[in-house]
Amino acid sequence: MEGVFNYAPAIAVFPLVAFVVALAFGNYLPKKGAIPGIIATGGSLLLSALMLAAVASGEVYHETLYEWAIGDATSATDVTGIEFTFGILIDPLAALMLVIVSLVAFLVHVFSLGYMNAEGETGLPRYYAGLGLFTFSMLAFVYADNLLMAFMFFELVGLCSFLLIGFWFRTKSAPSAAKKAFLVTRFGDYFFLVGVVAIAATFGTLQFAGDDSFVAAAQTAIDDGTTLFGFDAQTWVTITGLLVLGGVLGKSAQFPFHTWLPDAMEGPTTVSALIHAATMVAAGVYLVARMFGYYALSPTALAIIAFVGGFTALFAATMGVVKDDIKQVLAYSTISQYGYMMLGLGVGGYVAGVFHLMNHAFFKALLFLGAGSVIVLMHHEQDMWKMGGLKEKAPVTYWTFLAGALALAGIIPFSGFWSKDEILYDAFIVGLEEPIILAAYAMGLVAVFFTGFYTFRMVFLTFHGEPRSDAAEDPHPIGWSIKAPLIVLGVLAVVAGAANLAPVYKLTGLEFTFLESWLDGEYGAIEGVTYGAYAELAHYDSGFIGTEETTVLIAAGLSLLLAFSGAGAAWKLYNVPEPVVYRDRLGRIGDVVEANYYQDEYQVWLAEGLTLPLSRAADRFDQTAIDGAVDGVSTASLFGSDRMKRLQTGIVTNYAALIVTGFIVLLLVLGYAGGWFI
């Protein structure tokens, strides 16, 4: 199987070609660029699956393909010379992610035939070009073998999301949302870049894996007790790790950088599916998983990741409860779910975090595409209060959406349950020893209730009850290009959980933990970037209540109980023929939540109330003090020039007099200095 890796670059290059083709010839192609996109992502999917198979057969791939700059600076750890390269790293994690990304991208392309082409959108070549570039960037990011390359494609992912969120650039809101997404994530990326530079300057390498990786170098530095830039090595690793985390928080929309994501719903729904499930937002969490060894060296960084994750999970879930727009609900659920992943990774649950990343990719793509399908059905109406009763009229959409909702809510045995439960279990056992993790766990646990509630509120409002508008009475028909992706993802949302039935293993001893052994390198892996290696680095103490079995049962029972009560509450309130708005009963709290906790307001205030006056002051200083000084200099120069010109009188006797005077002055000066006159 080794030869198959020679085709690895093609995984990313295919969508790039599709991008070029769609951009250059899109207008002349039958489906305006959709066909090249589908072929390219299909090819990527096929090759990714081959890579997965190759890794499963025990191979890994780690090659530097192109070296574009070599520096001869000496790093703080006395490594001389640094190489900046493009390279490919395909290990179990990357192979898994490649498959997820290319699968979702492929399905989104297919879905777009029904969602964009059939709806007669204009500017389709631009749309498909954007999708192609987006997929290319993400795939290249996924198998980047060093942090700088990852950073470059991370940025490119951000650019693509800007282009696609602002696809309907003639509206007022879409360009504004695109700008917001770009600026907020860029603010985080600024810290990321500083972090990349800091890591490069510290360790002289940016490789993710292998003996000369910065992870290995950091570990050596900590073991040797090296002092780096005035800090002890572990503190420095924490600082640099948190700088990189800035980019992660921005892209994965974690508190307080989550504000861009709900606005990003202004993009086409297919783009939302791609952004939320497999590309933009996933990139942040994937980066943490990719350099997990580095974070594992720093308990502080891990605790921060866990706490931010737990907080974001709860925070976003509460906001999802009061939204009326179906896409808004999904947007907040995305923020919340990525919070869970961060929580999982932060407590050292590498497998749990990656597992949830995978499951979420499937069910969130499913839910967004399902929402897209609903939007088509509803003639582009997104307000859930105008829907209702779509269950009978669109059974495929309903049943697949329901599967996704069950997975999202974490109802056993759908995929979301298994991964979310594993995250909460990991957090729980660590939390028994570490109070701060326990707090994070508690927030994650409470969020389960809200998740169940908003998910089923959405399902019931959309599909159940009586139709509440003309559009809902008479939905627009949908085609197979919409249904097929839904079915594929619906099946995955149901069964993907089987990849890692950790509770089953712990209770019965049956080896249903395929993903764990996959990530632990039982098939093939690079030394040091396996779950086992990370577990050794991140020495969290963990405790149990009673035995391991009882702990598992308590954790799973708690989260299931909350999920069911959330879903049940939604059932009670909204699964009625004529649901009513309960918002007013929440009173002041409702106002605060509906206003998204004033997060936008304070960020706008930071920009308009704080930064803008500062810039104005700087501008005023520039206009008056600096410009005034400059203008003064030029006025003085011109005045001096005018005087100087008058020396030239045009009368030659004056000249002779001036020459002699000048000469005598010079003579007096020098003669006095030299003592000639004594």
Partner: protein
């Protein structure tokens, strides 16, 4: 190496070729008096100067004047009255290049004027004088060479006999020149009185002997003599306060002659200053005798000259006069080469030499553009030049190159020479001079950019007829522009040559 077999006097070939060309032009004139055959006259002058240029380049490349194994050593002639070393050849190259450019440009400029043969022969004689200045190694030969360069220049400035401005400028130039020559020759006599020698090396030896012995009695006399010599150089280089002739002479003279005087004549003035002060008056010995460091005089002159030149240029309305003042400002920059010698740094003198070479192209080119404008008859002020770029884009692009290079903007040659001057001044510890250089350069950008703006951006004040494209002027301008640009990539050899030449002289 064929050169070994040539007699020693052959080292003077560039100078002799220029003199020969002048004589050849006399012959042509006597065969057909009042000839207006511009092709033959300009052609002869160009061919002669190009031949001198080729020989000088060849000698430099072959290593004449270069010390050590691969060179022929410094060649002294007539008991050291003349000397051919790298610096002499370097400045002969500068003079020959400018002469060639001027001859080519004059082909069109002098069309329809009387005294064609006289014009070219005077140019060649002046060039001979300047080349001799480069090689002169004794105060006597220096004075003779200086007069040989000056006297034809007076005549050349006033060669447009029907033009009042030209005649008046010539007379003023002559009067100021006479005054300056008087001061200069008086200085020579004082130095002779103090030392008893005229040959530069001999003066240095005598000064050392005086310093070692009890020769302090003549300190003031010697100091006054040196100061008067500086006056003579200041006249030739158009430095303050001996600059008064320059704006009027440059404005009144035919534009090619302005170019000739402001580039070649200035360079020749600098070469004798460089040679006299490095050879005859070693700094430490002279300081001991006259009680004051003579570089102080050059520090003062440099700062005052660049400030007066640039400030007076800033608000001129007349383009030629602006260029005349800018030329004074550049003399101030080049004076840094002598001002910086105090710190024993040959870099700064090498930088000044580089600047003079680059200046030979960019300033000649700029004056030739003015010549082109006079040829078209568009007028003399900035406003008259408005919008020329629409009708003559090539020449105006060249003008932009000259202006930006004069202002010292990368990537043109003027940037690099100025940059070396700046770093040289800082190395020599002359922070005041370096600061003055920066301030003046910034100011100079103002008036240089004004001209570029006038030709490229502003709209013409009056409608113009279509403009002709005189071949000779265009060729000279374009060549100068190209050289201004390619001197950058080709700066390596120039830098090496200039630094070597400076090092040999300073050591």
């Amino acid at each position: 190496m064929v050169l070994v077999e040539l007699p020693e006097w052959a080292a003077l070939a560039p100078m002799l070729l220029l003199a020969g060309t002048a004589l050849a032009l006399f012959v042509i004139d006597s065969i057909s008096p009042r000839s207006t055959n511009r092709t033959i006259l300009a052609g002869t002058a160009t061919a002669g100067s190009l031949a001198a240029l080729a020989v000088a380049v060849w000698f430099t490349a072959a290593g004449v004047g270069a010390p050590g194994m691969d060179g022929f050593g410094v060649i002294e002639l007539f008991d050291g009255q003349l000397i051919v070393d790298q610096m002499a050849l370097y400045f002969m190259i500068v003079v020959a290049v400018v002469t060639a450019l001027v001859s080519v440009a004059s082909y069109d400029y002098m069309e329809g004027h009387a005294y064609q043969a006289e014009y070219y022969s005077l140019v060649m004689l002046a060039a001979t004088g300047m080349a001799t200045m480069a090689a002169a190694n004794s105060l006597v030969t220096i004075f003779i060479a200086l007069e040989l360069a000056s006297l034809p220049s007076y005549a050349l400035v006033s060669i447009l006999k029907d033009n009042r401005g030209s005649v008046e400028a010539g007379l003023k130039y002559f009067l100021v020149g006479a005054l300056s020559s008087a001061i200069f020759v008086y200085g020579i006599s004082l130095v002779y009185g103090a030392t008893g020698f005229l040959q530069l090396d001999a003066i240095a030896v005598e000064l050392e002997a005086l310093a070692a012995g009890d020769g302090g009695d003549f300190g003031g006399l010697l100091g006054l003599g040196i100061l008067m010599l500086i006056g003579g150089f200041a006249f030739k280089t158009a430095s303050v306060p001996f600059h008064f002739w320059a704006p009027e002479a440059y404005e009144g003279a035919p534009a090619p002659i302005s170019a000739f005087l402001s580039s070649a004549s200035k360079a020749a003035g600098f070469v004798i200053a460089f040679r006299v002060f490095t050879t005859a008056f070693p700094l430490d010995v002279t300081t001991e005798l006259i009680g004051v460091d003579w570089t102080v005089a050059f520090v003062i002159l440099a700062v005052v000259t660049m400030t007066v030149g640039n400030f007076a240029a800033a608000t001129q309305d007349n383009v030629k006069r602006m260029l005349a003042y800018s030329s004074i400002g550049h003399a101030g920059y080049a004076l840094i080469g002598l001002a910086g010698l105090g710190a024993g740094s040959e870099t700064v003198m090498g930088a000044a030499m580089m600047h003079l070479l680059v200046y030979g192209f960019m300033n000649t080119g700029a004056f030739l553009f003015v010549g082109l404008a006079e040829h078209w008859g568009v007028g003399r002020t900035f406003e008259d030049y408005n919008g020329l770029a629409k009708q003559a884009p090539i020449a105006c692009a060249a003008l932009a190159v000259f202006m930006f290079s004069l202002a010292g903007i990368p990537p043109f040659g003027g940037f690099f020479s100025k940059y070396f001057l700046f770093t040289g001044a800082i190395e020599a510890g002359l922070l005041v001079v370096a600061a003055a250089l920066v301030v003046n350069s910034a100011l100079s950008l103002y008036y240089y950019a004004r001209l570029v703006k006038a030709v490229w951006i502003d709209d013409p004040v009056v409608e113009r007829d279509s403009l002709s494209q005189p071949t000779g002027l265009y060729a000279a301008i374009v060549f100068a522009a190209v050289m201004t640009v390619v001197l950058l990539p080709g700066f390596g050899p120039v830098v090496d040559t200039a630094l070597d030449a400076a090092a040999v002289v300073v050591a």
